[in-house]
Amino acid sequence: MENVMELEAQFQAKIDRGEFIEPKDWMPEKYRKTLIRQISQHAHSEIIGMQPEGNWITRAPSLRRKAILLAKIQDEAGHGLYLYSACETMGISREELNHQLHTGAAKYSSIFNYPTLSWADMGAIGWLVDGAAIVNQVSLQRTSYGPYARAMVRICKEESFHQRQGYELLLSLCRGTAEQKAMAQDAMNRWWWPSLMMFGPHDAESAHSAQSMQWKIKRESNDELRQKFIDKTVAQAEFLGLTIPDPDLKWNAERGHYDFGQIDWEEFNNVIRGNGPCNKQRLNHHVKVHEENVWVREAANAYAKKNAKKSETLVA
């Protein structure tokens, strides 16, 4: 017991010195569990996040836009895989991670349970959803677990393309016909609030925050990150000529930040509990594809085994 307390003290001291924790280092069981929960949730979000955008690949308005969208979705797959890879260094298998997603034991970001109703949504997702993700991920580049921090550095390098292509897409719509501009405004109206919810509950109500800050898993609080996102997004919306759907949004010179209205946490909790517009569709799709592809994995394994045997006999 004393030994564990001593180890925990050394662990905290290491974090306080600003050092990173690596896979083989001793760590408290709760640190490991918290990180597996957070990194896997992050990974699942990237993977499930491919679906709402995949919805528009065949209907992209030009070859240029189609190629961009495909590249972006491929990046999301890549980001999911970087994160699974980081998560697996904590001693959990990919099979178990999949299982947790399929049984609902692991969550993914509730933003991906909203439908993508128009082409303008591809712009709004890139600009707002990826924009919010960037604010969070930039902060996580300094998270205390080495493999997670390294995955974040890689992701942040690629994420800027996602946001800029989304903004450019919306800019084209906003400079287009009245119908196109209205389409952009409609997307803004639907994606603004869910994007703010991506940062999670207010600090006072956040279940895991205090411990995660002490362990430097999180480096900035939910509310700080949300404020950062709002402050940098307002001027971008103004440039597009779009109205942010919040009558209480206004500059507060005293705070040096924008004030904003109440977030509908009931909606947030409802979507997390599984009652969002697309929860069932997203998960069912993942399970279905996973099951339909069993034969591919079996065939690849059989082929690998056969070849391994062949090279064995050649050597002998």
């Binding site: 083989k24 895989l81 990919r94 099979e95 178990e96 999949n98 890689r154 690629e158 996973h290 994995r297």
Partner: protein, 97 residues
């Protein structure tokens, strides 16, 4: 549903950014065999010209030092200051050394 799940063995990926530079660990991939491993590594870690050469190594083939005996393990290099050039005092008049 996951009882028959098999996500293939794990491989560690090393990328060389340009010729002449050392290979650097990038992360890992799952693959059934070495051909699939190197293709997956290409798709995952070099989508933006991050490298022009790759190594993939089965993760279980890697041997790592353990952090518990880090102190003792690397101790032999601690008391050998004479291995560093700054250990030697050379008069200022002597140039190019």
């Amino acid at each position: 549903m996951s009882s028959n799940d098999n996500q293939f063995p794990l491989w560690e990926v090393f990328v060389q950014t340009k010729s002449g530079t050392p290979y650097k660990h990038a992360g890992s991939v799952h693959a059934a065999d070495k051909e699939m491993a190197i293709m997956n590594a290409r798709d995952l870690y070099t989508r933006r010209n991050e490298g022009n050469a790759l190594w993939v190594v089965p993760s279980n083939a890697i041997v790592a030092s353990s952090p518990e005996d880090m102190g003792a393990f690397f101790e032999p290099s601690n008391d050998k200051a004479y291995r560093h050039p700054t250990f030697y005092v050379i008069p200022n008049e002597v140039k190019h050394i």
